[in-house]
Amino acid sequence: MNLNNIKINIDDDNIINLIIKPSTLKINNEVINDFQKTIDYIASEKSVTGVIISTENYNYNFNYDLNYLYSLSEPALIFENITKLTKSLRKLETLGKPIVSLISGPVSLGGLEIILHSHYKIADAESDTQFIFKNLKYELIPSIGASQRLPRKIGIEQSLELFLNDKIINTEEALKIKLIDKISPKDKLIEHAKEYILNNLIAVQPWDDKKHINKQPTPFSNDNLGYFISKIAMLHSNTSDHYPSVKTLISSVYEGLNTDMNSGLKIEARHFTWLLGNIETKSMIGTLILYNSKHKIKESEITIFRKSFIENYAAEGVRLLINGVTATMIENAGKRLGFELGPLAMADKIEIQSILPQLDSTDASVAALIRSMQKDKRNGLSSNKGFYDYEEGFRKHIWKGLPELIPPAEQQQDIGEVENRLIYSAVNDIFYNYIKYSELQDPLEYDYIAINNIGLPKWTGGPFTWVKQNNINNYIKNNEIYSRTLGSRFIINKKIIEVIQNKVF
């Protein structure tokens, strides 16, 4: 059998070689159908003794064809197609016959998902085989069972730490944690595979083996319960309420590991389907994956944008302070949005002096604040005091004298309002420079630069994507409201609106 994506041949021992042809497979409808046809055939051939899975270079750099997934658009269709693939592969895994995978070179998440279906995994000793767990925070969770199989194989904590910490592990490490079973010279891979098959004519995964099923890890076993409780808090505090794949992954593991593989696979697929439709995920995928940046924007311009962006962000913090918002609320708003630092901590870092040009020095409160801070030598981090007090470069706490200098308003606004103002101001600053310096360039490239080089949080997908995803009319309306009281930085250039309205994201 020789399909577009998969070919199989049978050797003298009735062992099937299943070769996935492109080692950079993009999983789409055709691939799903090819897997189904191949596996149905293998299942129908009773004389088969085992299966050896490989790719032409033994690489498994597999990913989804995201354009295909998004073309499905309906959650029901996405779920149906994923289920079709997981069911086919599940059929292979549960044939009762030994399945071996041969690995050499990079294994991406999609590749890992396929490999995990095999009962025995042999990696090439000579090449730089690597298992790559990367960017889950900005992208997608597994959908072909890796969130179910990996924890069942190597433990819950170990799996989640790999997924969530952008880990890349080599063969020795993979063998040590029992992600793979053997390391072999490249020219002996097939020999070892055949040896395993002929010595293990009946093969069952540990999660399907009735003798071992009670030893499977569960979220409520002693070690894991505490891990879940503290890990959730840690992840929540690191992502605030953004980056939904993180929560989705840990939920998939938690919910799935309380049941069997078949239910676990459905749980994972449902989370994946939901995640795919999530606005933040769409924004990040659109900018980070689907857009291949060729970086036409000059480095020198990027440096100008970044400087402007940071100064504006810090200045907006000071303006909020002058408007009566407490320093704590301003800083927490910045953290919740996922900025590197709160605005006032940023002001300290770049020196308060450097944001003065951004502020209206004719405003009496601004002048009074700056005068008092200068008088007290509160220049920022370098002088160990600014909006914060520092000890050997570490932030201790917000300067206690601040509320006396600028009394906070009695009625504080909702934190969401403060966040909105910061993000609007930041997005507007990027647009301002877009018009000023690079009007004719691709907005998607701008989005890419904004989240990778300038400092806008990644979950936005960049300023253009963010405005588009959050309804352009809201963006126009809110800026109008802001501009009435807060000034010209909230007046949007019409060209920006045209670009957003005309551009497909």
Binding site: P219, F220, L225, F228, I229, S230, I232, A233, M234, L235, H236, S237, N238, S240, D241, K247, I250, S251, Y254, E255, T326, A327, T328, M329, E331, N332, A333, R336, H397, I398, Q412, I415
Partner: protein
């Protein structure tokens, strides 16, 4: 509506909730059945006349599992017609059980019931029943779950209770509890826990540290600082962005003690009182449970007290004495501030900081404590309330007859 009359209230002494604690050797079903036996013997009732036994228990797994209330009924050798039900409203379970028993009487659906609770924290440790609230990522994220100790420190931070404030409160709890023991103020309710040979196992509340001073408390490290640093403080601040940091003021000396214990309250209507010639010591005026913000978690007592007061057409100033469970010192301080009550009326015989808090039993224990004290002082009205996990509060108002 039928009056729910309180005929009797008993409790075991509270043993330290660890392996070395005196009640560690006693399975929880025995603690509960000893309480039931005591109610039967002290009131000389035929248990055939008991409709139901409602017991609070917060970790109903292992030897506290499989409906420990019915199991205790069987172990106490009560009549087989007596049903049993275990309830869980976290720390207020014991009081909730009393309220449910009272509701059975008030609605006319039962003539005599027992409300109470049991918890062997040394044998079925804190947290052992797990739960989606803290471990299910979807739920924990959405609820901004933090452990209760973090909530207590959050409450102290938000409402400005300093380490000195909470430690001062803890010292007074110890002083009051020790005085109460010296004057044998608990003697009416307390039963001795004995073995099968009638040998005493525990007769006193053994958790107390009467020699506690501000200085000795000052030496204790905050209990939840490390936990907070591992993400929980940040989660609390996500919910309360007006706070820069969480100040960790609670420690083992100003938080409730981990102990073993059980309690039961005999409640019935007038018909049953007359039949057995039982003196109605008090009646249940009203009760209420409420939900409150779950991350700060522990502000529910004031809300539940206000709801119960409203149901009873009363004001806080109409209440002679209060029992507000000392889960953490700041919780009681906040309760007194919100209701504007003087400390002289609250927890006059100390509380869980000195005596311990056997989760499922405490509500019923402190109801007995306030009833004894109202009688001793010849006062009329008492309000019992507890803060409850996941942001709830439960309160009950009793009035002597």
């Amino acid at each position: 509506m039928t009056d729910a009359l309180i005929f009797d209230a008993v409790r075991t002494p509270r043993g330290k909730g660890k392996r070395s604690g005196s009640l560690n050797e006693v399975p929880p079903v025995q603690l509960a059945s000893k309480v039931l036996k005591a109610l039967e013997e002290r009131n000389n009732i035929n248990t055939k006349d008991i409709d139901d036994v409602v017991l609070g228990c917060v970790h109903p797994i292992g030897e506290q599992g499989a409906d420990i209330a019915r199991t205790a009924v069987l172990e106490a050798n009560w009549h087989q017609t007596v049903s049993g039900v275990q309830v869980d409203r976290f720390c207020a379970s014991g009081l909730e059980a009393v309220n449910i028993a009272a509701a059975q009487i008030m609605s006319g659906q039962a003539d005599m019931s027992v409300g109470g609770g049991v918890e062997s924290m040394s044998r079925v440790p804190l947290g052992s029943s797990g739960g989606a609230w803290m471990a299910d990522p979807t739920v924990a994220y959405n609820a901004y779950f933090v452990p209760q100790g973090i909530s207590a420190d959050l409450l102290a931070t938000k409402y400005n209770y300093s380490r000195t404030d909470v430690d001062k409160y803890a010292v007074s709890s110890q002083k009051r509890a020790s005085e109460a023991w010296k004057e044998k103020r608990f003697k009416n309710s307390i039963i001795s826990v004995k073995d099968q040979n009638d040998l005493p196992i525990l007769e006193i509340d053994e958790y107390m540290r009467p020699d506690t001073t501000m200085q000795s408390l000052g030496a204790l490290d905050p209990s939840f600082e490390k936990m907070g640093a591992h993400g929980f403080d940040d989660v609390a601040i996500l919910k309360y962005p007006e706070l820069e940091t969480i100040k960790h003021v609670h420690h083992a000396g100003n938080s409730s003690g981990i102990v073993d214990g059980a309690a039961g309250v005999l409640i019935g209507n007038k018909k049953m009182g007359d039949k057995y010639e039982l003196k109605a010591r008090a009646k249940i005026r009203s009760f209420a449970s409420i939900g409150s913000e779950p991350t700060i978690m522990l502000t529910g007592p004031a809300d539940s007290a206000e709801k119960a007061l409203k149901k009873a057409n009363m004001k806080a100033s109409d209440i002679d004495l209060f029992e507000m469970n000392e889960a953490f010192a700041a919780v009681v301080l906040r309760f007194m501030d919100v209701l504007n009550i003087d400390h002289s009326k609250v927890n006059v015989n100390g509380g869980a900081i000195a005596l311990g808090h056997p989760l499922g039993a405490t509500g019923a224990i402190i109801l007995g404590t306030i009833l004894d004290e109202l009688e001793r002082r010849d006062l009329s009205t008492g309000l019992i309330t507890l803060c409850v996990g996941a942001g709830m509060g439960t309160a009950t108002i009793i009035e002597r007859i």
